[in-house]
């Protein structure tokens, strides 16, 4: 199996000499193509920092991050933007849709900045909209959509460029349970039918249960790893997750 992401001995410090916090403490793991990986941890455990480092929004203090064999920690300036634009797709907790543009335009923007011809843009947007069941909202503005619809539009924008890796930061954080389920179904679909590789940060066990593998982070360190066995029901996987969460200590109890 092709390795899409490799995180090697990554450390991240905040603050200056004498007074600093270790946000990430020697983390290493890898993600294969077609995997759907969840990262769980309490607030302040460093999971979002990790995602930011992978997505090149933040820089690591030491260590390397390789995306399909390319070291992203040494990229700079426009090459960094090019990398972000072409190899990564993002889904954020607060959607990050442009409020001035319609859903269609928001999705199309990801392609037009890659200089994809208009005809193809049209075709691909319609295609993805059908798959994610957002055809009805294409002409609507973000404020006219529900949270779930917004997040599915954001997902469509994230995957339309066929990125190597989709990064999702608490994608269900602002959604109610019904919308969460629909979004996660979409993720499942993207992962299974479109072979998209997804790395999702969450602190919600239910959301995490849709992933095929879960990494637990505590105080900046990799704490444990859980893999969903073949043919294992999601309910069982969910219970396993809960077990690990309670093992992690009181910190996570509040989120269940």
């Amino acid at each position: 199996m092709e390795q899409i992401l490799e995180v090697r001995d990554v450390e991240k410090y905040y603050g200056s000499k004498g007074n600093f916090t270790k946000a990430l403490d020697d983390i290493s793991f890898s993600v294969d193509a077609g995997e759907f990986v969840g990262i769980m941890g309490a607030s302040g455990s460093g999971k979002t920092t990790l995602l930011n480092c992978i997505s090149t929004i933040d820089r690591v203090t030491c260590g390397n991050i390789l995306v399909s064999g390319k070291d992203v920690t040494v990229l700079k300036g426009n090459r960094l933007n090019k990398f972000r634009r072409e190899e990564l797709g993002f889904v954020f907790q607060d959607f990050n849709l442009l409020d001035t543009m319609t859903a269609y335009e928001n999705i199309a923007l990801a392609l037009s900045i890659q200089k994809v011809p208009v005809r193809e843009i049209e075709k691909r947007v319609e295609e993805i909209a059908e798959k994610l069941d957002i055809e009805d909202v294409l002409k609507k503005y973000p404020y006219q959509m529900s949270g779930g619809q917004k997040q599915r539009v954001a997902s469509a924008r994230a995957v339309i460029g066929n990125p190597k890796l989709i990064l999702a930061d608490e994608p269900t954080g602002a959604l109610d349970s019904r919308a969460s389920r629909m979004l996660l179904k979409s993720f499942e679909y993207l992962n299974e039918s479109m072979k998209a590789t997804i790395l999702m940060v969450t602190h919600d066990a239910f959301t995490a249960s849709y992933a095929s593998r879960i990494l637990f982070i505590k105080d900046g360190k990799l704490f444990s790893e859980l893999r969903r066995e073949k043919e294992e029901s999601r309910k069982l996987f969910f219970e396993k997750i809960i077990d690990v969460v309670s093992l992690l200590g009181g910190e996570l109890n509040d989120v269940i």
């Binding site: 929004i57 300036g77 426009n78 933007n81 090019k82 990398f83 972000r84 634009r85 072409e86 990564l88 993002f90 954020f92 990050n96 849709l97 442009l98 409020d99 001035t100 543009m101 335009e105 199309a108 923007l109 990801a110 392609l111 037009s112 900045i113 200089k115 208009v118 843009i121 049209e122 503005y141 973000p142 404020y143 924008r157």
Partner: protein, 691 residues
């Protein structure tokens, strides 16, 4: 004291955001001071009597214009500070959760306003005092006075006026602020940063329709104003102004929606790079500011029109002067007053101008040469003969107060030719049985031309004359600032010879003369002596006593007042132009900066989906460029027709006179507007680049 420290810190912290507002305030104060200090600046100059009158007129008018300027600046300041307050909702929210009352917040704002007010007044007046010294040099140059008596002047009166005016404005700002703060609810303050585009959605179909409507309204007003200038009375002119305003408003209301619709059709363009984003940004920017865009556009329109016409008026005046003032002096005297010759007035009215001058001891050695001619009237030759039938009704409609029994002036052709060649004007030829009208005042000229084209016969005594040509001849009898010969009739000498003293009576005699001098300075000396003669009590009493005065105009006097008048117009044009431009540009800049928090979020999203820095900056530049460009572009289109209107009204020849003033106006616009644009762009760029 704590609150004051907070104010001070706030200003320091947000200085970069305030800088445009602050600079505009300083500029406003400085300009206000400079133009109000004109009074004391000119008081020190040695001005001739005629110039002094003009300068007084100018100062009087500037005072009036200052009221308008104060209103505009007041509006700007209140509006701008409201912008700035709204930006800080979140900050106030934090103060309030910390337990600070609205009263304390108001006090913080009070401190800030006072601080900004004091600083801007001090800096503005400081700059103004220096700028007004340059202004005096400019004034001196315009009125052609010497600057030998020049001293550095500080006008206390202007300073007091400036402080009072701006003090009132700041007071209004404070009241507004307190009012705004008192209406805030904590919950709103916290949601302030989550402001989303809402309810601004306009039906694009409606936008297209309204765009068409606004185009039609503007086109109608343009055509009326530029090509039917003479047909507009006061009421209609007002209507055109209202149509222009409404059209502008509708244009801004619909323009971005229309453009969006149009460009979306061209998918290739719309979905290339960040084009869609930029257009959406512009659309949202304009849609939240339709009213201010309208005001700004109209301000620019006034700026461009006033500056270019005001400046070229000066130019046009000077050009016309050379034509209209060919000799040094004109004297006029009423002739042949009816009555007994025992009456001294009647006796005096029988003398020619030259004879009167001799009687009054005029020193003829002052004059090089002179020409005297007589203007006749015939009681029965009135407007009734000039306009008949349909023409008469038309003229009546246009000039409802015309006196149909008003006599026409009549001059013998050879006498006129003598004067015309003395003036260096073309001479006229007439055969027996012909007449010609000489006129150079354009609206009268048009009417006379109709009468001539109709081949209207004219009867004097028993002789009937027919027009020699179908258009008026160019010329005049008396010197003037502008073309103002309302028209007179040239008739063959034989008609004068036959009817003089019977049907034709002498109306007035006109004497034109040149001073016996070549150099300007010598001419000025002679001018003084002529004036002394005219103002001499004995002479004056003699003439006034008889009721028959020798009235005069000299070239130097006309030049002085013409230069003065055009200078007054130029000064007022510059004053209004600068203030309007600055007000408009500052409004745009502040509006754009106040949006920068929202912009920042949007550009941050671009960052996250991997847009290059350079592309992002380009998008911002386009967004700002379009936002700044649109009102200016529309204002320029307005101005083309506004200038056409003005030049039609003032009888100027657009292309020739306007070029240099248009260039000046253009350079000025680019400098000031470009400055504001750059400052805004840099400011916004700094904000969106902040991490």
């Amino acid at each position: 004291m704590m609150l004051f420290k907070l104010s001070l810190k706030n200003i320091k912290k947000s200085f970069k955001d305030y800088v445009i507002y602050f600079m505009t305030l300083i500029l406003g104060v400085a300009i206000f001071y400079v133009f109000n200090a004109m009074d004391s600046q000119t008081a020190m100059m040695r001005l001739s009597q005629s110039t002094k009158e003009i300068v007084e007129l100018m100062i009087y008018m500037l005072t009036g214009v200052s009221v308008v300027v104060a209103l505009i600046l007041g509006f700007l300041i209140v509006y701008a500070s409201n912008f700035l307050i709204r930006r800080r909702k979140k900050e106030f929210g934090i103060y309030m959760t910390l337990g600070m009352g609205k009263r304390e917040i108001s006090r913080i704002l009070l401190g800030e306003t006072i601080l900004i007010g004091l600083l801007s007044l001090a800096a503005g007046i400081g700059i103004g005092v220096f700028a007004s010294q340059f202004m005096s040099i400019l004034v001196a140059k315009m009125f052609e006075t010497d600057m030998s008596a020049y001293t550095f002047i500080f006008s206390r009166q202007a300073a007091v006026k400036t402080v009072a005016c701006f003090g009132i404005m700041y007071l209004i700002v404070i009241i507004f602020n307190v009012f705004t703060i008192s209406r805030y609810k904590l919950i709103d303050l916290f949601h302030a940063c989550r402001k989303n585009e809402k309810g601004r959605l306009k039906s694009s179909g409606l936008a297209v329709v309204l765009f068409a409507v606004s185009c039609a309204v503007l086109a109608y007003a343009y055509i009326q104003v530029a090509f039917h200038t003479q047909e507009l009375d006061q009421q209609k002119t007002m209507l055109m102004i209202v149509l222009g305003c409404v059209g502008t408003f509708l244009m801004f209301w619909s323009l971005s929606g229309f453009l969006l619709k149009l460009l979306q059709r061209i998918g290739k363009f719309y979905h290339r790079g960040l084009n869609a984003f930029v257009l959406r940004q512009v659309n949202s920017n304009i849609n939240t500011a339709v009213f201010s865009m309208t005001i700004i556009c109209l301000l620019f329109f006034v700026t461009i029109t006033v500056l270019s016409t005001g400046l070229s008026l000066n130019h046009a005046f000077r050009q016309e002067l050379t034509r209209n003032c060919p000799v040094d002096m004109n004297l006029v005297k009423t002739m042949d007053v009816p009555g007994s010759t025992d009456d001294p007035a009647v006796a005096a009215s029988l003398l020619t101008v030259e004879e009167s001058m001799k009687n009054l001891d005029f020193d003829f050695s002052l004059l090089q040469d002179w020409v005297e001619i007589t203007v006749y009237t015939d009681e029965t030759f009135t407007w009734n003969q000039v306009f008949r039938g349909e023409m008469k009704e038309e003229v009546e409609k246009k000039f409802p107060r015309i006196r149909w029994d008003g006599c026409q002036s009549i001059v013998g052709v050879s006498e006129y030719n003598k004067l015309a060649s003395y003036y260096g004007m073309p001479v006229c030829e007439l055969s027996e049985g012909e007449y010609q009208v000489v006129c150079d005042f354009s609206s009268m000229e048009r009417l006379f031309n109709r009468s001539l084209a109709d081949n209207t016969p004219v009867t004097i005594g028993e002789t009937t004359l027919l027009p020699r040509e179908t258009v008026c001849a160019d010329g005049f009898l008396l010197m003037n600032i502008q073309n103002s010969n309302l028209g007179f009739y040239l008739v063959p000498d034989s008609v004068i010879a036959e009817y003089a003293g019977t049907v034709l009576s002498r109306e007035e005699n006109i004497l034109a003369a040149n001073y016996a001098a070549e150099k300007k300075q010598e001419k000025k000396e002679i001018e003084e002596r002529v004036k002394a003669w005219m103002n001499d009590d004995a002479v004056w009493r003699n003439m006034a006593g008889s009721g028959i005065a020798v009235d005069g105009l000299t070239k130097i006097y006309i030049y002085d007042s013409a230069v003065g008048l055009s200078s007054v117009i130029t000064f007022i044009a510059i004053y209004l132009g600068i203030v309007f431009l600055i007000a408009g540009a500052a409004l745009l800049a502040l509006k754009e900066l106040s949006e920068s928090t929202v912009n920042k979020e949007r550009y941050a999203i671009l960052d996250k989906i991997g847009v290059d820095e350079k592309q992002k900056h380009q998008a911002l530049l386009w967004q700002m460029g379009i936002f700044f460009g649109l009102p200016m572009l529309l204002a320029m289109i307005h101005a083309v027709f506004g200038i056409l209107y003005a030049s039609n009204l003032l009888n100027m020849y657009a292309e020739k006179d306007m070029r240099s003033s248009l260039v000046f106006t253009g350079a000025f616009l680019i400098f000031v507007y470009g400055g504001y644009f750059l400052a805004t762009y840099m400011g916004s760029r700094r904000i969106i680049d902040e991490k």
